[in-house]
């Protein structure tokens, strides 16, 4: 879509967003893994995210959707302090993991990113062997004591990522030699290897074909039993297929959060409806 159309869309989306509608917060009895309150994100003087209050439940897949530039990726990156690497970026508000403030002075971002892993849009294996790609984090964090433990960890991680069978005879070959879908699963294996609690995924399948996408989606569904997953996706069908809850962002504001089924059959906010049905405002 041309920028012209995108800009026009934004102008026409002249509907006021007062409060987030739906159920952004979990009810009592539901385990909260991560939570943000009054979360604002700024790039220098520009505010990219406004007052986001959201709970992310344990073992759920929450999908974040919205038009380009709506702030969904920025918000996702705030969840494991990936924005720290951008000098002009500033995050305010309270962001917690298991109730601990992740922006606390004593919080080590490197350790945090081991607990809250991230998978990116483009598969980005290190220019190393498949084995070393997976082993890298474990070595860095000193998670294993000897070679045989490391072997087991690499095998277990590749198995969980659904890749082991395909690469078991070629573990010493470069990771970059794999197909796009395999590379992405390698990146997931690398993320899993450091035993994270939450996995953030920023459009993990947008560079993949439908079959490789289906394999990753199936994998996510399996991973959900052990991890909490937050995924940013441009594919609404993907959000509808894999997530339990869907959050719709618009111009830096969280417009609506609800069970995925509700969002796609009976959204509360007009902006959500316009976006998911492919309409102008």
């Amino acid at each position: 879509m041309s920028t012209q159309v995108a800009d026009k869309t934004r102008d026409e989306f002249d509907v006021e967003i007062l409060d987030t509608v739906g159920k952004p917060l979990l009810t009592e009895g539901q385990d909260i893994k991560m939570a943000t309150r009054d979360c604002d994100v700024f790039y220098a003087d520009n505010q990219a995210i406004y007052n986001v209050d959201l709970d992310i439940g344990k073992n759920e897949i929450i999908a974040m959707i919205g038009p380009s530039g709506c702030g969904k990726s920025t918000y996702l990156r705030a969840l494991n302090r990936m924005n720290d690497t951008i000098e002009i970026c500033r995050v305010t508000g309270k962001l917690t993991l298991d109730g601990e403030d992740i922006y606390d002075k004593n919080q080590d971002p490197v350790l945090l990113r081991a607990r809250v892993g991230m998978v990116f849009q483009k598969p980005n294996p290190f220019p190393k062997s498949i084995y070393d790609n997976v082993a890298y984090g474990a070595r860095l964090h000193g998670l294993v004591n000897n070679k045989s433990e490391l072997d087991d960890l690499v095998e277990a991680s590749l198995t969980k990522a659904g890749l082991f069978k395909e690469v078991k005879d070629n573990l010493q070959k470069p990771g970059t030699g794999l197909s796009g879908g395999q590379q992405q699963r390698l990146c997931i294996a690398r993320t899993i290897a450091v035993d994270p609690e939450v996995i953030l995924m920023d459009e993990p399948t947008s560079a993949l074909d439908p079959i490789a996408t289906a394999v990753i989606e199936e994998l996510m569904d399996e991973l959900r039993h052990n991890y909490t997953i937050a995924i940013v996706t441009h594919s609404m069908q993907q959000a509808a297929r894999i997530s339990q809850r869907t959050a719709y962002f618009h111009l830096g504001k969280l417009v609506e959060v609800n069970e995925t089924n509700t969002v796609f059959t009976n959204p509360e906010h007009k902006l959500t409806e316009n976006y998911i049905t492919g309409r102008f405002g």
Binding site: V5, T9, M236, Q237, A240, F264, T265, N266, P267, T272, E273, N274, I276, T277, G278, R279, F280, G281
Partner: protein
């Protein structure tokens, strides 16, 4: 309800086409019911035969609309209001087709009913029931065409009267049959007509439920209509009191 258009204009066109087809089917069915009723009331054998033989177009439209809906679902992956519109159209066509079948039945009975010399109010009661069923259908289709959920709720409430009318007619028919055994054959035919009309009323209620589902996103089938009103239109219900 959306008033704005899709970014993809062809999607708008397809939805509009399918909506028009559904309304066209509704129009045909309504005409069939109206003719069937006239045939019975006026003992018009010719019209009865016409009704009982013109169900084909309705059936064809049902198949056609369902196919198109399946096509749109497969190609467009509609969501929210679009999805609810298609689902309600698919369900609408099923009910319309069944109303068409009921009208066809009534048309057949019309060809078999003899001229009655003394009907003991049977005709009047049948006319009441028929007019009520016909009105419910018209109003239901009208609310579907305009996606008027408030009217749909009113029509659904009104449709409860059809049971009462049916009971009234049953009582008259029983008396009529007890008067003279020779009346039984005709009385039974009238009874079957009445049954068909009652079914038409029920199908019309279903149509109203789809309208509310499309507009409000709430499935109100098998729920108490008073509660539905209170829940979906709290302001309106309190104004009534």
């Amino acid at each position: 309800m959306q008033t704005s258009n899709h970014i993809l204009h062809s999607f708008d066109q397809e939805l509009e086409d399918i909506r028009s087809k559904a309304l066209e089917m509704g129009g045909l069915v309504e005409k069939q019911v109206s003719n069937a009723l006239q045939a019975v009331m006026e003992r018009d054998i010719e019209l009865g035969e016409l009704v009982s033989s013109s169900d084909g177009q309705i059936n064809d439209l049902e198949v056609d609309i369902d196919e198109e809906c399946a096509g749109i679902i497969a190609r467009r992956q509609p969501t929210a209001g679009d999805l609810r519109l298609l689902l309600s159209i698919i369900k609408l066509t099923t009910d319309l087709e069944r109303i068409g079948d009921e009208a066809e039945q009534i048309g057949q009975y019309a060809t078999q009913l003899g001229t009655l010399t003394s009907d003991k109010g049977m005709n009047t009661e049948l006319r009441h029931l028929g007019e009520l069923a016909h009105t419910l259908l018209k109003l239901a289709l009208d609310s579907f065409a305009r996606m008027d959920d408030l009217q749909a709720l009113e029509v659904a409430k009104k449709s409860r009267r059809i049971g009462k009318e049916f009971d009234n007619l049953s009582r008259v028919l029983i008396t009529h049959m007890m008067d003279d055994q020779r009346n039984i054959k005709d009385a039974l035919r009238v009874m079957w007509c009445a049954r068909a009309l009652e079914r038409i009323g029920n199908h019309s209620t279903n149509i109203c439920e789809f309208v509310i589902y499309r507009v409000k996103g709430k499935d109100i089938r098998h729920t108490n209509l008073k509660k539905v009103g209170k829940k979906l239109y709290p302001k309106l219900e309190s104004d009534d009191q």
